[in-house]
Amino acid sequence: MSIYEWMNERIDLDSVKKFALKKRVPIFYGSVWYYLGGVSLFLFMVQVFTGILLILYYQPGAETAYESVKFIISRVEFGWLIREVHSWSANLFILFAFFHMFTVFFAKAYRKPREMTWVTGMILLMLSLGFGFSGYLLPWNELAYFATKVGSDIAGAVPVIGDFALRLLRAGDEVSGATLTRFYGIHTALLPGMFTVVLGIHLILVQVQGMSVPPEIEKIPEEKRKSIPFFPDFALQDAMAWLIVLNLIALLAVFFPWDLGPKADPLASAPAGIKPEWYFMFMFQTLKYIPAHVLFIEGELFGIMLFSIGGLIWFLVPFLDKKANDGIRTPFWTWFGILLIIYMIVLTAWGYLT
């Protein structure tokens, strides 16, 4: 008796197999978008794998963190590679998650019945930004130190809960070794746990509901639409995409290494040309150009309000864009998406060019 048969007698694997073989992927001009979620998933798995490896040598703490990262990249065999892959894969992960999100947005895939998939996706994005923010501090270098000071100070400007949030994040009043320990815990235990659960729900929803197609394609009668089976056709294409991305990471890791820079020093001035990670750049740039006071509100607070409201609207798009449920594209939401992308690109480019 094969293992399959043995298990099938106990947990009915046949029905799972039947479900998997029935799964089909629509073929149309936008089929390439279907890779984006899969690639993001692959990059997340790369992060988990390289992250676990880095934990084996990394030592949190103001006196040890920077030194242990230096040890990893200079003494541990292939340590440089593991760290570079972790950094590059993290950046690509955010990039692909953004691509994934915007294609979903413009394909209106968030419309009924997939609202929960969108909402879980947004939660995953926030957790990812949390991963980025907390992981950035761990090497305890100069850039990381000031980025964390600024980031946590922004949290501190939130009315009412600000002070509490700031102390909670910093594990004290200042960014210190205690902050580092806390961020380490957040980055390696709290966020991975939460992410895995939400990701599980996200993926189950995709399996249960199947792939979405844009409203225009949905109007074509089902028998006239083209599709291919997920197994093995699309799965192999997916594997190919993952392989290409893995090669891309290897190339980037070898030819464009991330600089560690000097160690964090609480008594140094913030260096000229200091910049956050590129995916926070558009917000950073906005904060730079908001004046000290907007009407009667402090500029900092105004910026926070701006991004909170914008983020909330984006989060709730499936419930605000009701016409999408009937397959209607409203110019308002199309323009909302386009302007958001233009805003993000222009401010990011501006931040890097000035």
Binding site: D153, F164, L267, A268, S269, I274, A292
Partner: protein, 153 residues
């Protein structure tokens, strides 16, 4: 004996038990969440009560230069102007908490994070900072630089 039927009595009992259960559940959740929430908040560390710090000899502090030092827990920036006078200000930008730097060429204080600018007196003159930098007092006693808190009187 009351006029309640058996079913009515059962219903009352059930809703009574439900209330007890729900209250118990809420109490249980609260008794778990409360200690966890308190645990997450770091304990207040005593304010390092520093009244003044000694920065060494005046002669060893070059003109038109600056130094960031610790005053209690907070970093402060001490500047010696071209004229030889001293100025001490808090070193963290009032915008988003980055450490500022002294620009020799213009005798201004600049924050690299978001391009905030202060004049030599710590007044915010351009960019996003909403407030001036807090002042500290500098005294020269027997050729030594002593930085202390401003008298608030």
């Amino acid at each position: 004996m009351s006029n309640l039927t058996k079913t009515e009595i059962k219903k009352e009992r059930r809703s009574f038990l439900n209330t007890i259960l729900k209250t118990g559940l809420v109490a249980w959740v609260a008794s778990v969440i409360y200690p966890v929430a308190r645990f997450l908040v770091p304990p207040k560390t005593a304010e390092l009560n520093v009244n003044n710090i000694d920065l060494g000899l005046v002669a060893e502090f070059p003109k038109n230069s600056s130094k960031i030092v610790r005053f209690g827990r907070k970093p402060i920036i001490v500047i010696r102007k071209e004229s030889g006078d001293f100025k001490a200000l808090e070193a963290t930008c009032t915008h988003l908490d980055c450490n500022v730097q002294f620009k020799k060429e213009t005798e201004q204080i600049w924050c690299a994070c978001h391009n905030g600018l202060y004049d030599i007196e710590g007044k915010n003159i351009s960019g996003p900072p909403p407030k001036p930098l807090a002042q500290f007092k500098v005294d020269i006693a027997r050729e030594k630089i002593i930085v202390s808190k401003m008298d608030l009187s």
